[in-house]
């Protein structure tokens, strides 16, 4: 029941909401998270962020995360879109939607999905700074802790 996509193109949040909810009178709440590229890292100006992934594995990993969410909450549908390639500051990176009869399940599943996406899907971010430097983003212990609490 999840729509899952990995793409270079931007996504349209309104269109994804509409696709998930069109004609669905069983849904009472939709939780959503959108992650975007920040224009600085500790004050150092970012030129772009490049997202690399492992194509043969990515959709499988995302499907496994979605299945885990569906096993934990009674969801009526959901969406995961993750962008790859070169993204400029302010660009959207990831979209998560989770629909349920009640808000508790929709919001919990939204938090779960983004926490697990950050730690269990094969994406890697490289930051390219305006000063010419490049840095592969390091995994945050806080993200591991956030994923582990579910």
């Amino acid at each position: 029941m999840f729509a899952i996509r990995v793409q270079e193109a931007p996504f349209d949040v309104g269109a994804e909401f509409a696709a998930l909810t069109a004609g669905r009178a069983d849904i009472g709440g939709i939780g959503c998270f959108v992650g975007t590229v920040r224009g600085d890292v500790g004050g150092r100006a970012l030129a772009a962020m490049t997202l690399e992934h492992y194509p043969a594995m990515t959709e499988r990993a995302l499907a496994a995360i979605a299945a885990e969410a569906e096993g934990r909450w009674e969801l009526l549908g959901g969406t995961i879109i993750h962008r790859v390639g070169c993204l400029l500051p302010a660009a959207p990176i990831v979209l998560v939607l989770a629909a349920a009869r009640h808000r508790e399940a929709a919001l919990a599943a939204t938090g779960f999905l983004i926490d697990w996406l950050k730690t269990k899907a094969p994406f890697w971010k490289k930051e390219s700074f305006a000063d010419g430097g490049e840095v592969w983003v390091e995994a945050r212990a806080a993200d591991e802790a956030a994923a582990a609490r579910w």
Partner: protein, 88 residues
């Protein structure tokens, strides 16, 4: 005793240090686990040594599933090495 072929993939800074993202290689028959394969690859040259020197911060997948150093590898496996993931 003859070896076996595996398909190797490297991502992010492992790919950059090794200098290529993908290769098909013949592995000695005595290499049975992911950990043994990492150690064997690390001895192949300075790029590999640099990539695998990071030790614990190298993660891996066998046939598109995350796997630890004790996981068994065999003929025809697709084995990927990469840093901890940072998507989302």
């Amino acid at each position: 005793m003859s070896g076996f072929r595996v398909h190797l993939l490297y991502f992010a800074w492992l790919r950059e240090r090794i200098g290529c993202g993908e290769e098909e290689i013949e592995v000695p028959a005595e290499i049975r686990t992911l950990g043994a394969l990492s150690a064997w690859l690390a001895a192949r040259g300075p790029g590999y040594a640099s990539a695998f020197a990071a030790g614990k911060s190298v993660r891996a997948a066998i046939n598109q599933s995350f796997a630890g150093p004790e996981a068994a590898i065999g003929p025809g496996d697709e084995v990927a090495f990469f840093p901890p993931v940072t998507g989302g």
